[in-house]
């Protein structure tokens, strides 16, 4: 039977190839998702700065409890900024048995640059006492002994050409300061990814802006004391968070987990690497299931006569079912065995792109174990065998006498279960779409995938009837198009069931492609529009690295021609009411018109907040209500809403007074907005050379271009995965179309023998395809709209999605090209064959 199945596969290479390609791609993407997920879970960064410290205490995440009773869920959300620890804890930890020393570390973002010039580079300031945690040891010079002395790491020293005695400058929150190099140090292991500079302990604490708290406490054990013992002892002093407590709590890290403490990037990378696959893995499985059910079903349909013959000469229905299932199993095993390698290659490529684009640190590595490929292969097998099993039920229902009849007319039978299921799917899709319109951002995006999936499944179930209906309606017009039109109308009506998978794959491509692509364009467009409409500044000063010293705005106000200069801090706040949803936050400026709809921004004093309308809606707050949030460093607070505004997407979802927000950030301004005459620009640039070397002045237009680029970069990972899925649905559609076309050999031969010319056949095929495409575009478009409109409303506030002309062109043009190419080319090939030969042997 396996031999028979294999031979029959070889006889119909097109259908085998179609199923194989769809399976291969599915297995590859699922493998890639799995490997990425596992790599994310296992990613801890590498302890470099803290390599010598076996146990660390730090606050890196926010404990959030959502739900109640059985639904109660405790989550640890990575904090946007590092949380703080009371410095007093250091002494307590140092007193533990087995601890040789406990060292408090404070990391402050800065930029290092030479005494002359603007060549600034991001770096971190640490106290010299924390050098032992790596350990950094002096290679030249001496340790910093007084304010104004600095130790550089060897790499930075080389870049700056500095040696003991030279001067370097640091850009700190308080401004640009000059230091004298007292020594040069290097770690015994790998140097940390970020350049490191050391000041005296006192000065390092002072520049951090939070002298009474520390970031990390590192423990170094006495010789022979294992890390586990130290960690256990530390646990006694740093207790677990109480069961019902939310907020930030210091935790003890040891072993590989220490990498998580080194930079917040690690947690962000983990978040990304685990979130991406969870959203898109399910979607891939669904596409694979739909497509493979289609191709396997088609391949059974096309072998109708072969199967009837086998039944007549003595194959039992069970044998036919087994043949179909085994055939798919053979394909699935081949596809799985090769597809996983495609997945591995994909993840490696993705990892390089992530690192190259700065989305993850360079220490992010691909971790391959046996689990993801085995799971992906199993999913591929299950999908393929499941689809084959369903198709085999049809195969075993084929009656042996059907081998004896002259023609194989499509029989209308069974499948009445499809109508109630299809209608249920339709209803479910609509309900999901309504649900999506009540969600925000990422949540809404993941629900959007389910909306598309449910609606496409409904179309798949209802496709035979949809095809019949449209054939009946369009038939009237087609019959007016002469003999080829009549033929096309008759074919479309007669092959409603055969074309069902073809329609499904077209709808999938259009519905999925349309909603995913235009979701992104709509958000980008609205953000750009709001930013254009709201930005009143003539120039924007942007830093070359992490930020601008807070005094820059005040200094720039003194430049002749500058009439206003506002420093803007960007950070985020996390909602304490509902699972820690993160919102962007900024400080207000007169040079930004946020489009206030209620309240007044002028009331932003003390513990107050202004909030954009969409956030206000989803938080269910209005002017006068209070909001409970965490700052980016995990400090809880209660704020009173004083205003609501419209342009949240173009600027930030929330606006807080500078004196409320800034203490919970690194103390740097993200940008400075200027109102100034063009003549003032030169003066501004000259002054920036002193107060913020490396910073750039952008005109309003240039700034907005740069902003768009940032947005695009930020969305790269999402867009990447969406394009992979788009390629997948396109491949699937091409497969199904080409397969359906190749199955028409006998029918086309009959037409040619009865005098239809090549030209007429091609015209007929094009008319049929045009009808199918039209229906696919309408239904797919409707699905895209049903998904997009609530989503776009939820994220931008307007219910009209923005679809750029090139977007229309690429979706419609792409579908038309794919559909015609995948049909007309195989038909042309069929037409080159001798019709007499083609009619004889195969269906």
């Amino acid at each position: 039977m396996v031999i028979l199945a294999w031979r029959m596969l070889r006889q119909r290479p097109m259908s085998a190839v179609a199923t194989f390609v769809a399976l291969w791609f599915g297995v590859a993407v699922i493998t890639a998702c799995g490997v990425l997920l596992e790599s994310g879970i296992r990613y801890h960064g590498t302890p470099e700065r803290y390599a010598a410290s076996s146990v660390l205490v730090a606050t890196t995440d926010l404990r959030v409890i959502s739900g109640q009773g059985d639904n109660r869920d405790v989550q640890r959300l990575p904090l946007p900024d590092r949380g703080r620890i009371d410095a007093g804890l250091t002494t307590q930890l140092a007193g533990l048995p087995g601890v040789r020393t406990a060292v408090a570390d404070v990391a402050t973002p800065t930029q290092v640059l030479p005494a002359q010039g603007t060549d600034a580079e991001d770096a971190q300031v640490h106290p010299w006492s924390a050098a032992v945690l790596a350990p950094f040891t002096l290679r030249a010079g001496v340790a910093p002994a007084a304010d104004g002395q600095i130790v550089l790491d060897a790499t930075t020293a080389q870049r700056l050409g500095a040696h003991p005695g030279s001067s370097v400058r640091l850009i700190l929150g308080s401004g640009v300061h000059t230091f004298t190099v007292s020594g040069i140090a290097a770690p015994s292991g790998h140097p940390p990814a970020d350049p490191t500079v050391f000041l005296t302990d006192a000065q390092a604490r002072a520049v951090s802006g939070h002298p009474s708290t520390v970031d990390v406490i590192g423990l170094i054990g006495q010789p022979g004391v294992p890390a586990a013992t130290l960690a256990k002892a530390a646990d006694g002093i740093v207790p677990d968070a109480p069961r019902d407590a939310e907020g930030t709590f210091p935790r003890v890290f040891s072993g590989a987990d220490r990498g998580l403490v080194e930079t917040p990037d690690v947690a962000e990378a983990r978040e990304l690497a685990t979130a991406l696959p969870s959203v898109f893995g399910g979607c891939t499985i669904l596409i694979a299931a739909l497509v493979i059910a289609g191709t396997v079903g088609l391949s059974v349909q096309q072998r109708h006569r072969d199967i009837a013959l086998l039944r007549a000469i003595g194959a039992t229905p069970r044998q036919m079912r087994r043949m179909v299932v085994r055939e798919s199993a053979v394909l699935a095993v081949l596809a799985a065995a090769t597809g996983v390698w495609g997945g591995f290659a994909g993840v490696w490529w993705l990892r390089d792109q992530f690192v190259h684009r700065g989305i993850t640190p360079a220490s992010f590595t691909v971790h391959i174990s046996w689990i993801p490929p085995v799971v992906a292969a199993a999913v591929g097998l299950i999908i393929s065998i499941g689809a084959a099993w369903v198709a085999s039920l049809r195969a075993s229902r084929i009656h042996p006498t059907e081998a004896l009849v002259e023609s194989s007319v499509e029989r209308r039978r069974g499948g009445w279960l499809r109508i109630p299921l299809g209608l249920a799917g339709l209803g479910g899709g609509v309900v999901l779409a309504i649900t999506a319109s009540r969600l925000r951002g990422d949540d809404a995006a993941s629900v959007a995938l389910s909306v598309v999936a449910t609606l496409v499944t409904a179309v798949w179930l209802l496709a035979p009837w949809l095809n019949r209906l449209t054939a009946a309606i369009a038939g009237v017009g087609m019959r007016a198009m002469g003999v080829t039109g009549r033929l096309a109308a008759a074919n479309s009506a007669a092959s409603a069931r055969r074309l069902a998978p073809v329609l499904t794959s077209l709808v999938l491509a259009i519905g999925f492609g349309g909603s995913m692509m235009f979701m992104q364009t709509s958000i980008k467009h609205t953000a750009a529009q709001q930013s254009h409409a709201g930005l009143r500044a003539d120039y924007v000063v942007v830093p070359s690295g992490s930020g601008l010293p807070s005094g820059v705005a005040a200094a720039l106000r003194q430049v002749p021609g500058v009439t206003a200069a506002d420093g803007v801090v960007h950070s985020s706040v996390l909602d304490r009411k509902d699972g820690g949803t993160q919102y962007s936050a900024q400080t207000p400026s007169d040079l930004v018109d946020l489009g206030v709809t209620s309240g007044r921004l002028a009331d932003l004093h003390g513990n107050t907040i202004a909030i954009d309308n969409l956030t206000a809606d989803s938080e269910n707050v209005h002017v006068g209500s209070s909001m409970h949030v965490w700052f980016a460093d995990g400090t809880p607070t209660e704020l009173r809403v004083v205003a609501t505004y419209t342009r949240g997407l173009g600027f930030a979802a929330t606006t807080l007074p500078a004196d409320v927000l800034a203490p919970h950030t690194a103390g740097l301004d993200s940008s400075v907005l200027l109102r100034a005459t063009p003549a003032a620009r030169a003066g501004v640039e000259r002054l920036l050379g002193q107060v913020a070397p490396g910073a750039e002045v952008l005109s309003r237009a240039d700034y907005q271009v740069a902003l768009d680029k940032d947005v695009a970069q930020g969305a790269w990972a999402n867009q990447m995965v969406v394009s992979v899925l788009l390629v997948y649905v396109a491949i699937a559609a091409v497969n199904t179309l080409a397969m359906a076309a190749m199955g028409r050999r006998r029918e086309l031969a009959t037409l040619r023998l009865s005098g239809t010319t090549r030209k007429q056949i091609l015209r007929m095929v094009r008319i049929e395809q045009g009808l199918l495409l039209g229906v696919g575009l309408i239904i797919g478009g409707a699905i895209a709209a049903a998904t997009l409109m609530p989503l776009v409303k939820a994220t931008t506030g307007t219910s009209t999605p923005y679809i750029p002309p090139i977007g229309w062109a690429s979706v419609i043009g792409g579908t038309v090209l794919l559909a015609l190419g995948a049909t007309v080319l195989p038909v042309r090939r069929l037409l080159r064959q001798d019709p007499v030969g083609a009619i004889g042997i195969r269906e």
Partner: protein
């Protein structure tokens, strides 16, 4: 009408044990309600072992339906069918299939062969489906007789129509079935190729004691048979032992007149 058939029935009809196939009071209708079509309206006919019978009739006379019912490809709405001493009505679909692959051979008008398999594999297919070993000696004999022993590795697409029908006959003979059913086996062939195929069928009856039941509308093909059964409107109207080609053609022409059920069966010469 019943009386006429009794009268025409050949004397050779013997005890039940000597019948390969017996069909008793078989009715077959398609569709429901007003659109019901009665394809067989109560047919009684039996086929003795080691005989070659042709079943003739106009299109729509029910001859193909009779063949399907007699061969266990289709179930009658009413009535009984025996192959040997097995009553088909009591068999499940799977048992029916098993019976077909071991005790019945088929030759259809076209599309007889699985295109993916070569000649030898096609011939072996029923045995393989039944997981039974094949008598190598007999297999070679059958392949030699149909004259395809040098084309065993060819695919059906590489063979002519006549050769394909020969492969189908070889497949039918290979399992030594109790009866071989042929549905217009020469319908798609020219007369010379057809003669070769019919000779093979005749030979299998004469040499190997096979039983062959063949549906055809070609008087020349029917003349190879020992007996010709005529059907009209779903009923047997004539049953004649080995008439010549001309007599068959004559009878066929008269059957073709607008149906008048009361005298449809009366000899008209």
């Amino acid at each position: 009408m019943q009386a006429i058939i009794e009268q025409d029935r050949p004397e050779t009809t013997a005890a039940a044990g000597d019948l390969a196939v017996a069909v008793q009071a078989v009715r077959k209708s398609y569709g429901r309600g007003n659109s019901t079509v009665q394809a067989l309206a109560g047919v009684d006919v039996s086929f003795a072992r080691r005989t070659f019978t042709a079943v003739m009739g106009q299109s729509g006379s029910g001859k193909s339906t009779l063949l399907h019912c007699a061969a266990g490809l289709d179930r009658p709405t009413d009535g009984h069918v025996w192959i040997g001493d097995t009553e088909l009505g009591t068999l499940s679909e799977s048992d029916l299939t098993r019976l077909r692959r071991t005790r019945v051979g088929f030759v259809f008008q076209a599309f007889n062969l699985v295109p993916a398999l070569n000649v030898r594999e096609n011939v072996l297919l029923p045995s393989r489906l039944a997981r039974r070993s094949v008598d190598k000696h007999w297999l070679n004999e059958v392949l030699r007789r149909v004259g395809l022993d040098d084309r065993l590795r060819h695919r059906p697409a590489q063979l002519s129509g006549g050769q394909q029908q020969r492969v189908a006959i070889a497949r039918a003979l290979a399992t030594r079935p109790e009866v071989i059913f042929c549905d217009e086996p020469t319908g798609a062939l020219d007369s010379q190729t057809a003669a070769g195929v019919l000779d093979l069928l005749r030979e299998s009856v004469d040499h190997d004691g096979q039983t062959v039941v063949m549906v055809t509308h070609d008087p020349v093909a029917a003349s190879y048979a020992d007996r010709v059964v005529f059907l009209a409107d779903g009923a047997v109207v004539r049953d004649v032992p080995a008439p010549g080609v001309n007599a068959i053609a004559e009878m066929l022409v008269h059957l073709g007149r607008p149906a008048n059920p009361s005298n449809a069966g009366r000899p008209s010469w």
